[in-house]
Amino acid sequence: MRSPISWRLPASWYVFRSDDRLLLIIAGAMVGVCSGVAAVALNQALVAVLGWLRPYRTEAWAFLLPALGAALSSLFLNKIMREGAGHGVPEVIYSVSRYGGLMRFRSSFSRLISSCLTIGSGGSAGPEAPIVMSGSAIGSNIARVLGLNDRQRVALVGCGAAGAISAIFNAPIAGLIFAMEVILGEWAASNLIPIAIAAVAGTEISHLLQGKQIPFSHHHFEIGSIDVMACIGLAVFTALASILLTRSIRTIHHKADGIRLPAWLRAAGGGCTVGLIGLYLPVVLGEGYHAIREMMEGQFAPGLGLVCIAVLAKILATALTLGSGGSGGIFAPCLVIGSFTGLAYHRALVYLWPGVDWVQEGCFVLLGMAGLISGILQAPLTGIFLIIEITGGYEVILPLLIVSAISTSLCHYFEPASFYLKDLVEKGQVLRPGTDARVLADLEVRELLETDCITVHPDMLLRDFVDIVKQSRRNLFPVEDRQTRQFQGVIYMDDIRPYLFDPLMYDTVLVGQLMNARVATVSPDDDVVDVLERMDADRLFNMPVVANHRFLGMISKSTLLDQYRKELMVQTYHLNR
């Protein structure tokens, strides 16, 4: 026989068998580098496409460019890559929570190309989600090649996401936090180290390939107590903008789904409208980093009224691009809308109280971004750390915390689930580690089967049955036909107790007469969640499991609790260590 240890699967090497930390660190660094490269590639491609298209921007037909880009990207995704309608980050979260992070290989590059088409042509969307998706898929596929198990694979998927965010924003901590808070949903120490390594690797590779050219440069702000007070108001506006953006994307998405047209035509329609908006307000086009940079530097020329319109226009453009089927993420638009909101708020303050010594515009722009990220993604830590790393200073922490906290809580009140989780929550598919849903999703009826019941036949005399009762440890007895072995019903001890002590009935009553034939049964493929719900609804403690008219065993609440507890212990041990 061949040796079972394979040279291709390092997970089974002796060094890594008992402790896989080293393996995960090496693989994590690899994944971080790959997703960093993906981030740089998309970034450079976007720069190239934008430069290439710039001469045509001034033409009258320029509004058709986003339409063309969106249509091409939709065609590419659906016809060439056959991806299926794209969710981006939600798909990553779904695969992490349900399938241990298994992702298709094609996902590791398809979104890069399609989002490049959408954004490069002027669609209002962000490159972050596609890069996160690619990074995660790269991580997942590296794990697959290495033959890793679910836990290790999930860590590598997190590594991919962390590397992506770190590389884009030159912010390793934000990448780390994003991966833990948004993608994995748990703070396990075992995941932390590989993900941190991947975040650093992603940042470094981005430095190496495109120099210190980072989207946002460091800034220093003098923040007074009056600014801190003003932040509370800003948080309210960012929360409003978040809710507006979430709702409008979903509304347009549902509207677009209702239109009976090929997907690429719908995307083209959305792109066309965005292009028209862009004719009047070019700032809404593309991912918008350029506009953010200008605002942070305080060089954004348009006045208060125009900025307010820009907030709404950007929301509309983003909703049209993403809702109609363009490919891209929501992260960059969030930042842009946040900056516009912050800027508008700052200018309004200056207009109302010109005498007060307000901090520079740039500070409120940053706070607005944090507010939007916290509100839409319901990920306050990601927002806070991203801004801290961008500003490189600690002065902003206090207002940052205030804006993030208030914005998150307000949004949570109106939109209980984050933008990424919304679809999953609606389908009941959020299975965050250590939750009840997660534990129940892993348990299967087959695992809970109890087979120590003694089956009886309907033509048995009560006298014979009493003997079986003596031998059994259970107080219920499945009845099956003697010839066909088909399941007929169940005898519950409670129902027959009065007859058991009546010897007169021993030879006159048949088991078939005592049986409860209308008993609710479970199929071995049922979800344990459904089984539990039915048990609760009918106040049952046991249910027979029947497949193909054959009795397979019983499922009982006591075994369920026993196995549930074991499962919970195993799933959450590393969290409570």
């Binding site: 198990n149 299967e444 695992e447 196995q563 074991k566 041990y573």
Partner: protein, 231 residues
């Protein structure tokens, strides 16, 4: 160390499907190749301890159903022995004398057993009528007997046991068992025998050990569950 998945499932007392899933999810320190798992025993034991599980590599599969005829009265009686001419004025003294003769009880724990028998007797009489008593300790497992024993003690002179039918007792069956379950099984078997008038009459003749054992094994042989009913 190498074991197959079903052996591991048995050792941890978990369903096999669960073990397979845990290996896939990386929740258990096992490396799987087809059906064989490689692991480090210490690591796995530590893991089991941390997760409130127990790892016994050679655990036998649990019997599907405890058989009622695991212990035979004959075997128990052989353990306990038959004792004639046990003397004493009252129950306490009789217990004292009877326990002295029990070979399976170490000398040190004899006073303890006597104490237990007296305590039980104080609750209600174990004299079940027709001149028979079945003294036993209330918590059988506290004695540390390894196998069930029944000691038949024929008294020198009948004494008052405060029995149900107020008749003086001339025969005692002292029941000692390692668990309550066995105690109940022994009791059920004994009471079946004692319900037979012929057996009572047989006891009145104070038979010797061989005769008593023969009689009991003869009565026990049709004692299978299916034929045990009486009209």
């Amino acid at each position: 160390m190498k074991l197959s998945i079903d052996q591991i499932a048995q050792a941890l007392d978990l369903p096999q499907g669960k073990i397979e899933r845990w290996i896939r999810q990386g929740r258990i320190p096992l490396v799987r190749h087809d059906t064989i798992c490689t692991f480090d025993q210490q690591t796995l034991e530590r893991w089991a301890l941390q997760h409130d599980l127990k790892f016994h590599p050679h655990r036998k599969p649990q019997p599907e159903c405890m058989q009622a005829d695991d212990i035979s009265l004959t075997a128990a009686l052989r353990n306990g022995g038959v004792h004639h001419g046990v003397s004493g004025e009252d129950t306490d003294a009789v217990f004292q004398a009877a326990v002295e003769r029990l070979a399976i009880i170490p000398a040190l724990s004899k006073p303890h057993l006597v104490q237990k028998l007296i305590e039980r007797e104080a609750l209600t009489s174990t004299g079940i009528g027709k001149g028979v008593a079945i003294p036993h300790p209330r918590e059988p497992e506290s004695l540390g007997v390894e196998s069930p024993a029944v000691a038949a003690c024929f008294l020198e002179a009948p004494i008052d046991f405060n029995a149900l039918d107020s008749r003086p007792v001339s025969v005692m069956f002292i029941l000692l068992s390692p668990s309550v379950q066995m105690h109940l099984q022994l009791l059920s078997r004994l009471s079946y025998c004692l319900r037979q008038e012929t057996f009572i009459a047989f006891l009145d003749r104070k038979p010797d050990e061989t005769a008593l054992l023969a009689q009991l094994s003869q009565m026990e042989s049709p004692c299978e569950p299916s034929d045990r009913r009486q009209p």
